[in-house]
């Protein structure tokens, strides 16, 4: 894992001291809320429905055991005993007190964490593949590149007041497990025909009220020009992004309005200029960073056998573990989606347990996934039964990865002040009703947002649910056919919305159409793509 150097630590410590002073002045009444709000937001502190909410960045989703323990301690000491893992691989606390915040940030700084750039119109936490460094299908570990970009984008003075927020994702495999094409910049590390490693740039994707899939604007940027190319992409956006209209201010609108070809032309022009300015950090810096992401010392000669005599355990192994690059190992996914539970929530005790298991079984590393689960990336097959036994005992053993119960849900109207409708109860009811049919339904990704901002990725769900406000009453639209994987697509709205009970019935009906129409081996999404939306509409609206 990356270790802060003295500069990283000094910057974060200085920021804590600065915020402590700002909070003091706010509490003493020396600054107004209007003056204070941008300052607190720069430190991840929002005012939400019931209290302050603190969003803590988890760079590319990677955490050590000590960091996970620290997150659990914060939940215990300063919040109400739990945290919420988000689709941006971060964690949010819902019950934070203003006066505690400087102490929380100081506790985070001790484990090399912070909440900087988790809000506001800046470059946000950089996300990545949650199996990075573990999966056999990657070209190379993408995280050193994500870390390089984190360092470049942290406090970058030119990009702290962009037209709108900016989200970057870096992956290094054909398989997309990070919704790469739905980011402002999606980067895929690739190899060209001459065997050199570089980066393909996808720019102008996003969700929110105007979802867009990012077009590839450059299939190969040499690695020693990665930062310069990012800078060029940002500069063109910073100059021409629609500051006049918040709803048109994301880069996706600029790329769409200019056209990808014209945007690319402008980026290339800026890039040519920037190359003369020599802004790229030396490759030695990338190499220095890369040493922190070296593979752990995997044991060799391990057996691939797993004792499957316990059927519950065998089911969990089949559903929640994925192949690893090292023989005898797997990546194990800890589901934060018990049937009927709140997606993404973990109690302090559960976080402490995950931290212990991280240390014991996964070379001191775990990952937060954008689907609101936790991954132990490097687990010996021989340890799986012991791991599962501990998880089961703590309510973390649900065997439902990418199944109907593995629902993404944003906080919605239970916590979020922007929400139109609650998301969590809908997720709970769908999970309760349909989890018993999980095996029969196979891979089926349900994603729920409580408003058009799409924090719950509803556009990208095989089945998506969007909460809307219908004359003061919660109402839910159903979307079908979205995906955020390699075959990224945007879901289509089926028709008029439903009330809370109705949307659960509607989701069930959609699954029945699938079961009736599927051919061998087809997932829900495959069937939908083959037969189209009409059979579903007929079943829903008759």
């Amino acid at each position: 894992m990356y270790k802060y150097d003295q500069y990283d630590q000094a910057m974060v410590d200085a920021r804590v001291a600065e915020f402590r002073d700002q909070v003091r002045r706010r509490v003493e009444g020396r600054i107004t809320e209007d003056q204070f709000k941008p300052l607190r937001l720069q430190n991840g502190l929002y005012l939400q429905l019931h209290a302050y909410m603190l969003r803590v960045a988890v760079p590319y989703g990677t955490l050590s055991s000590a960091q996970m323990h620290a997150l659990a301690d914060i939940a215990d000491k300063y919040d109400r005993g739990y945290g919420h893992f988000t689709t941006r691989q971060n964690i949010q606390y819902n019950w934070i007190k203003l006066e505690d915040t400087p102490d929380i940030l100081a506790d985070l700084a001790k484990v090399e964490m912070h909440a900087i750039q988790t809000s506001g119109n800046c470059i946000r936490n950089i996300s990545s593949d949650h199996y990075a460094g573990a999966t056999a299908d990657e070209l190379i570990d993408p995280r050193p590149y994500a870390e390089l970009l984190r360092q470049w984008s942290s406090f970058h003075p030119e990009f702290l007041a962009l037209p709108r927020k900016f989200k970057i994702c870096v992956i290094a495999s054909e398989a997309d497990r990070a919704a790469m094409k739905l980011h402002d910049i999606g980067i895929r590390i690739v190899k060209n025909d001459s065997g050199e490693i570089g980066a393909a740039f996808y720019v102008g994707g996003g969700m929110g009220r105007t979802p867009m899939i990012a077009p590839c604007i450059n299939p190969f940027v040499p690695l020693d020009q990665l930062v310069t190319y990012c800078e060029a992409c940002l500069r063109v956006y910073n100059r021409y992004g629609r500051r006049d209209n918040k709803y048109k201010a994301r880069i996706k609108i600029l790329v769409h309005e200019l056209g990808a070809a014209e945007y690319t032309r402008q980026v290339e022009e800026e890039f040519a200029h920037l190359l003369t300015q020599d802004i790229e950090p030396p490759l030695a810096e990338l190499e220095r960073i890369s040493t922190y992401f070296a593979s752990p010392a995997f044991e060799t000669g391990l057996s691939d056998d797993i004792d499957r005599s316990d059927p519950d355990f065998a089911l969990w192994v089949d559903t929640n573990t994925v192949p690893h690059k090292a023989p005898g190992y797997v990546s194990a996914v800890i589901s934060l989606k018990p049937a009927g539970g709140i997606p993404g929530d973990a109690s302090a005790e559960q976080m402490h347990l995950i931290a212990d298991l991280t240390k014991q079984y996964s070379f001191d590393e775990c990952r937060v996934t954008h689907t609101q689960n936790i991954v132990l990336p490097h687990v010996k097959k021989a340890d799986l039964h012991a791991l599962w036994t501990s998880l089961e005992a703590a309510g973390l053993g649900a065997a439902n990865l990418d199944r109907i119960g593995d629902i993404i849900a944003c906080p919605g109207l239970d916590y979020c002040s922007l929400a139109n409708a609650r998301s969590i109860p809908v997720a709970q009811k769908i999970s309760e009703r349909l989890s018993p049919r999980s095996a029969e339904l196979g891979e089926l990704k349900v994603k729920i947002s409580g408003c058009i901002n799409a924090c719950g990725h509803h556009h990208a769900g095989h089945i998506g649910v969007l909460g809307v406000d219908k004359k003061g009453v919660e109402n839910y639209q159903l979307l079908l056919g979205g995906s955020e994987a390699d075959d990224t697509s945007l879901g289509k709205i089926t028709g008029p919305g439903f009330d809370e009970a109705g949307i659960v019935d509607a989701v069930e009906k959609a699954t029945e159409v699938y079961l009736a129409q599927r051919t061998d081996g087809e997932r829900f999404l495959d069937t939908y793509r083959r037969i189209g939306i009409n059979p579903f509409k007929e079943a829903l609206y008759g």
Binding site: R26, V27, H50, A51, R422, V473
Partner: protein, 99 residues
């Protein structure tokens, strides 16, 4: 009926204007009538409340003041999915009027 709500500056807790002070219990809220905006501005300036705003409210059958919109009803109670974290964790009926 118009009531005034905001958050406590230090704790972030949801608060309601009672006619003389701020309470975390919506039952204490009073009709501020056409003085609502003035009260909000004065109380914010005096730092008794953070980010106050005026909302519509109704009186229910028992004469209790209830925010008209679901968002403020949920603010008054707490998260509907965690009764244990609401203001009345011991009362299973506490949320009945919210949804």
């Amino acid at each position: 009926m118009k009531i005034v709500t905001g958050n406590d500056l230090k704790t972030g807790a949801v608060t309601w204007w009672t006619g003389s002070d701020w309470s975390i219990h919506v039952d204490d809220a009073v009709d501020a009538g056409d003085q609502a905006e003035t009260i909000a501005a004065r109380e914010e300036a005096a730092r008794n409340v953070n980010s106050p705003y005026v909302i519509e409210a109704v009186t229910d059958a028992d004469g209790k003041v209830r925010p008209a919109h679901i968002k403020d009803r949920i603010r008054a109670l707490g998260p509907t999915v965690r009764p244990d974290l609401t203001l009345k964790p011991a009362d299973p009926t506490a949320g009945n009027w919210v949804i």
